[in-house]
Amino acid sequence: MSTLYTEIIQDAYKHPAHRGDLPDHSHSFEDENPLCGDVLRMELQVDGDRVRSARFSGRGCAISQASAELLLDRVEGRAVADALALEKDDVLEELGIPEISPARLKCALLALKVLKGALYGLKA
């Protein structure tokens, strides 16, 4: 039906498992995409070298929201080092849209930017 809005994206957008707050988070970060007004916040509970739990909040398009959901699903319960190693291509692979256009790429990568911001200063 839609080449951009894959099943994966639609599913992650419509049924996010990681939307919400973590009142006792150890790390958090918020950023925005001023051109489209998207705002994304992430809260993480880091325990030793692991990301124990992770939640996101904010508003934005399906691409940026689904990207946040998929990223946090991937990092939750895993090593901080794995989260720090994530790159642009990993995000696009998670989303299943390697061919995204430059304008929407910004939406897709906002989550990665915020995640990196939250983990800033942690060692790999």
Binding site: T3, G37, I63
Partner: protein, 409 residues
């Protein structure tokens, strides 16, 4: 409900055939003319003809080719001057509306606006008629005052008078037509009020000039800027109108060739109007292309285009309002565009999903962030229309929105 037969005064099918980009194998539903218009064949061909037969640097050449290029350039100026009811001396070629407004801020503004003086803007301004005044205000200590909006997106009726009554207003800078709300502002009334208070008025006509007849004398404005690429002309060319006696007294803008009379080691004197404000080699190609665009618009008829646009905007508004939950911003009476939001789909998602069906709309703040804050939405989706659009395009848009909703539900 499908298309009714609102008889347009235009033969849209014939017009579309004049636009190569709209005549491809797949029908492109181009609903982003408020960002930039497409170009008819005569304009595209005029650019080629210029370079194939007339190209030379203007004004200083003695040979025939240079004469011809100069004549073409100055004829283009005369065409644009006539189009807006100005004299050629008052018709300055600039890159775009943005440069025209910055020119005024940096010359007339810098010379006439000082600390504590007031510049009046509206809450619906495009950044191009906002940032230049912010920069000037920061430099000079002038104050910015904003005319607020009614709930349906018109200027607050008495706001201008109230601000003017507060005194020290040097300039009212307003858009003619909002590029988000579609609101058509009462420029002649605003001019009268501004002048009665001893203020000047500058009009951003970027969204007006493409759509209906315009006359700077009848509007009695002091400055007016338009941009060629939104009115079928090439990119890189626009016009700034300035009232002659104001332009005469203004310092120059950029320095260089063409705008000079006599050069000394420390100091120089300026050329006559309008060349005083055109430094360096002008965009002759752009000027002749824009003049060709004006001729095309006039051959179709500006009044007919205006009537067509009004009908189409009304039709779009009524069709869009049938969509549950859709909010359309702006007043009933409007220019040829509708910006709207849906409760369940982000504008960027909607634009992407429509694009998959060859429908081009714009999503974002449309360079009007202040207005979007005022509307309390980060972004809207905007469909804008022009002489090559028809009811079928609106119907396709409405169907496309239905489809997008299905995908995202």
């Amino acid at each position: 409900m499908m298309t009714t037969d609102l008889a347009s005064p235009l033969d849209v099918a014939a017009i579309r055939r004049d636009f190569p980009i709209l005549s491809g194998a797949t029908r492109l539903i181009y609903l982003d003319s408020a960002a930039t218009s497409q170009k008819p064949r005569p304009v595209i061909e005029r650019l080629a003809r210029y370079y194939e037969t007339q190209n030379a640097n203007v004004h200083r050449g003695v040979y025939r080719l240079a004469e011809e290029a100069t004549a073409a350039y100055e004829e283009a100026r005369a065409t644009l001057a006539r189009f807006i009811g100005a004299r050629p001396e008052e018709t300055i070629f600039v890159r775009n509306a943005t440069e025209g407004i910055n020119l005024v801020a940096n010359t007339w503004g810098a010379a006439n606006i000082g600390e504590g003086d007031v510049i009046v803007l509206t809450e619906m301004e495009h950044h191009s008629n906002l940032i230049p005044w912010q920069l000037l205000a920061e430099r000079t200590g002038a104050q910015l005052r904003y005319i607020g909006l009614t709930p349906d997106g018109r200027l607050q009726p008495d706001a201008l008078e109230e601000i003017l009554a507060g005194g020290r207003v040097k300039l009212v800078a307003t858009t003619y037509v909002s590029n988000v709300l579609g609101t058509v502002n009462p420029i002649a009334d605003m001019s009268r009020a501004a002048h009665a208070a001893g203020a000047r008025i500058l009009v951003d006509a970027a969204q007006a000039a493409p759509h209906f007849p315009l006359d700077v004398r009848r509007l009695d404005v002091d400055f007016l800027a338009l941009t060629g690429h939104k009115m079928l002309g090439p990119m890189g060319i626009g016009v700034l109108y300035g009232r002659q006696e104001i332009l005469d007294a203004m310092p120059p803008f950029l320095g260089g060739g063409e705008m000079i009379r006599r050069v000394g080691r420390e100091h120089s004197t300026w050329n006559d109007l309008p060349w005083k404000f055109e430094a360096g080699t002008p965009n002759v190609e752009g000027a002749v292309g824009l003049a060709e665009a004006v001729r095309y618009l006039e051959s179709v008829g500006l009044e007919a285009i205006a009537a067509h646009d009004r009908r189409l905007a009304a039709y779009a508004l009524s069709r869009l309002r049938e969509i549950p939950g859709l909010i359309a911003y702006g007043p009933e009476e409007r220019g040829a565009l509708v910006a709207f939001t849906l409760p369940d789909i982000h504008p960027h998602d909607l634009a992407s999903l429509l694009d998959e069906r060859d429908i081009a709309v714009r999503a974002g703040h449309h360079c009007a962030q202040l207005l979007h804050e005022r509307l309390d939405v980060p972004a809207t989706t905007r469909a804008s229309f022009y002489l090559y659009n028809d009811e079928r395009d609106v119907d396709t848009l409405v169907q496309g929105i239905g489809h997008a909703r299905e995908v995202m539900e």
